[in-house]
Symmetry: D2
Subunit: 362 residues, 4 copies
């Protein structure tokens, strides 16, 4: 987990800027013999794709993925992974030839503009360059491959559980609902409310934050490692690496502080299948950094999109004070499209740890 | 960040179990020529040391650190680092020769017992073995060296901001107070309340969680890197690697979800010193994964100690249902001693990124 | 140095197969602000390009490189690196649609066929797939960027010093000669002899091995690190990672065994410039894993091309004994084109260590 | 492979200086449940131990290893690894309190003195500090654990095949002989000749180089990976990381340059056991970076000990020219004791790749 590479054994290295010719990634360490087609990856990419409702950016990108290496078809057989690096390419097709004069000259508050400039002395300011959320398409593509490594017994699903101050009612949680509304909400009751709120936000040129929850079921006990390779540590790293994320929680999360030892301890019984059955899941499926066989539960917050129409105070590279507004095509709630991204990161972490566990413990 | 190693260029590899002869770590990648003595490291270790008040475990450990390598004194000069690996050793001196029959036979809910057994098929159950919070002494020792790498211009301080449901009043924040109460509270108003509450918790053999906040001031802009080496990502990884941590926040944290874009954007002006001055710090000092020069603000929650006197349902390795209570010497609120640990992890991340930044950007 | 990634701070991750649509690499960790164009990279690629004389494979590849990310032009300025990952793409254009029936069915002795099959259970047998020397184009492209990081004061040059049993006469070494003959020979006296010998080898469908020497001048003292990051260790790793390499030497190399301590010790005097001047260079510019400021001298042997027209005994995947000959377009001496590859690997190792040294020692 | 850590999944981090209180290492990533005692490690350490004949340094070190973590005995069972890091400690007991004035003041030619000083600006000059061959004791201890991971079916043996210009007669190779002479020679015919030669070398205060060959039998096909994790690449890195090594060869090695394609191609037949049988082993058991099931054959040269009694020209830190002789206790042929070190490095590489292969290919 360094530079632009994520993962230890199963790993992804991403590249590309928002307004360059393409973005992409290399997925390395993939086991051989896994059937894989671009169409399968495309399914996940399409869930993240912009422009699918009025609640996301109107930038039109096909996000069509090409597999350039690492797969092979022998005769009439299916296309399978060969164990060598899989290079994925996604072309940028809808970079508007707009005038970037405004954001070239001044640092947009809340954006990475100033930080990049302070670090590198140069920045590709077109559409945020490397800091654009467009990079997350590469994650979703890599995550689709990670899912195939994990196999069908591991089910990873995400949902939006909060927009602004409006949370879902967990008693109404329904996974079927998630795919039938533009917010990935698992609670049908929130959909009209969120729609009305986001319409207002969008029309006013404002934005709002969100909380995403990702759950992995069917994860075997034993993944992770005691220290500095903890499963929850790598999940925290994974989720915090997503643009605009400001907080990560496992299980009870920040609220664990309010629990007593009695309430927190997930008691264990033997289930009807003869296997351990936990009576609660404050641990979020992880104890001592290692999975317990319970569902892995991870939440993260996404701050509101920093591109807004209300003028904000800022400075320029010359050190002059100025004000800026950010026009263009933006997500009023960038957290919505973070749902498939969070799923992808969960898949990447689990696939990596599956291989790591197999290496050490056979 | 893998196996038992944390960090990329400035890195720490820890080893040892709660009831073995010793614990320790290797600090590798340290720049040469930095004055360093065991006494300096001891100052930080003593802040984490158990048995300093009735609110922490009564295990008595001197936590005396020895430096076995990596430093040198040439003639009359000071002892300085040589650039080679620094091996630190801390002997375990107060391992009680108690009967471990109870925890050998059954998995303590909330502890790592079951997860270790599921992963490795064997576990050193004495005092938690490798999963014991005793390992954090090695972190604090390494963190003391990291602070020296950062130099005096970077000030890292932590505080306890919440115990159970009882939060501090931030308007009363006073750094001087932190070192004058056994809770590392920055709010003198909470001290008697927390003392009374923890006395009750302790007497009833229960436990309670907490939230720690660590702030680094004087960090130059430019540390971190866009993707998979984000400063906030590595902080999330660092804090989540601490035992019992369930949530990590940067700046506005989980509450960033509730902000509008207007409220979230930390506006920028030019300060009296001619440098950028941010009018708020929702970003927690990090934008796009890179430090901005503002204070780095990180919070994390610690779950309640899982060793409690109330019986809890569990199973044993043979798959039988049973109940267990955990006697012995335990912290009623393990979050208290996590304050210096959080500071150490902050120092380790920043020292690593200082070297990484210097490597790439000179 | 693992998976398909080489380097620690300045690093290259390569991908692609001989007969896929393209090959390429990501160069990550590059310092920002370095002027870089595809044309500059092309210069090095052209030196490795096949089909430039009758002594190399007749496959026709333009080896035209595209830069897909990591560079930016701000207004009228030059195109420079931004510090983000540089994605390089080289399309395969001359994959013959030949019948691969022969090598699909049987393992070519000396080639990686059997080993890949034993490892992965599947292999892209077209032109060697991932094991093809075509991958080295990506190295040369990345090496061109590494050279720019090192700057003009570091001069890296390679030469062919032996073909088969025919060695150069070192007393005639002339760097100018290297670029004026198809063998990269530094000794004009060998050129007609080698030409005659290789013509015979080529016509008979045979092949022959070679030894390459790469020398880096102007490398500052202090690069490398004592253990497991030794400069010579990383050079050995780098050169042995090139296809068909079977031996690596630093300085006196294998012949160091025959020296006495007196002969081996490179004595030191003060040169006219006031800097250390070594009276010999058995060390090859490296002592204790760290550069001394002398020229870095590295040699490696390349085995003969395994694709030959003489039938060889082998087996097929079903375990049947058979014989095989390898038709097609092959280098009679693959060592020739390894010269620019060796230079590239030297540049990659030195650029990585330059950054690593700057990180630790400022 | 960076800093002071070697290996990717099964890895060793060493620390310590020649004249500090101790040296040691952490072995991380070891599979759980492997019986392991200090006595087993000691067997290998004793083979490297100094002072066992008049042909090695007379420094007296017990090289007694302590296991400080990572193993556990449950009741009456054997002591086994737990999967957590194994910390090994070897105390230095025979550091002579000699006057280091000579080597403090001037750089010994052939030694790392100047290079360390150029890099770090400081060096622990006592006995070579970190650059001392004493560090190799930690490698041998870690290698003993690696052998246990590999299991009894993998047999790793080394031998000295050349001292100075005197090579063994390979037709007389006898593994039994290796343990019955002070040179690890596999050729009984060389023993009296080598003894006479080394006596002369020793008495004259000179030194001589050597070549070591290490062979691993029983290695399954499939270990290694195509690029930048090649088995031969990691072996080259491993052997070149040993002090004083200047060349590394796999199979035919540097002489591969002289072979024709016909001679080089190791032909394959089906053996009486139904498995592939290679008719030669120019490949040294590795093709395309991946093991073929043949014996892995690796050779490396060791330069003569740089500590000699003949005065050599050198300079001091102030830039003055001077001469130096190196008194003290030294190996006249440091290559002798490199035999068990080479075996250990082979074991470490193979154990690491065994786990890596299991991770990816199951």
């Amino acid at each position: 987990m360094s530079h632009n590479t994520f993962g230890h054994l199963f790993r992804m290295t991403t590249w590309g800027e928002s307004h360059g010719p393409a973005i992409g990634c290399i997925v390395d360490g993939c086991p051989p013999g896994i059937p894989l087609t671009a169409e399968e990856i495309q399914v996940d990419l399409n869930r993240r794709k912009p422009g699918q409702s009025r609640y996301t950016t109107q930038r039109r990108e096909a996000d069509a993925v090409e597999i350039l290496s690492g797969v092979f078809t022998d005769g009439d057989g299916p296309t399978v992974t060969t164990g060598t690096p899989i290079s994925l390419l996604i072309r940028n097709t809808d970079q508007r030839s707009k005038d970037y004069g405004d954001i070239k000259a001044a640092f947009r508050p809340g954006h990475a503009d100033y930080a990049y400039w302070a670090k590198y002395g140069i920045r590709d300011y077109r559409g945020g360059g490397r800091s654009s959320a467009r990079e997350t398409a590469a994650r979703v593509a890599a995550g689709a491959i990670a899912r195939k490594v994990l196999g069908p017994s591991v089910v990873i699903r995400g949902a939006l559980v909060q927009i602004g101050a409006m949370s879902i009612d967990r008693s109404r949680w329904d996974w079927e609902t998630v795919s039938s509304n533009p917010f990935f909400s698992p609670d049908p009751g929130t959909v009209p409310e969120w729609a009305q709120h986001l319409d207002e936000v969008r029309k006013s040129g404002s934005s709002v934050g969100a909380v995403i929850e990702v759950i992995a079921e069917g994860v075997p006990a034993g993944l992770g490692a005691p220290l500095y390779a903890k499963l929850d540590q790598d999940l925290a790293s994974a989720m915090m690496s997503i643009n605009a994320v400001k907080g990560v929680e496992i299980g009870a999360g920040m609220a664990a502080a309010e629990l007593t030892g009695e309430a927190n301890a997930d008691e264990i019984r033997i289930g009807p299948d003869g296997r351990p059955r936990f009576l609660s899941n404050n641990a979020g499926g992880i104890l001592g950094g290692i999975s317990t066989g319970q569902p892995i539960v991870c939440r993260f917050s996404v701050k509101p999109t920093s591109s807004i129409l209300t003028p904000r105070h800022t400075i320029d590279a010359a050190g002059h004070e100025t004000d800026i507004i950010t026009k263009g095509r933006h997500d009023p709630c960038v957290g919505i499209r973070a749902v498939p991204v969070g799923e992808a990161m969960m898949a990447l972490v689990l696939a990596d740890h599956l291989l790591r566990h197999r290496a050490q413990c056979g």
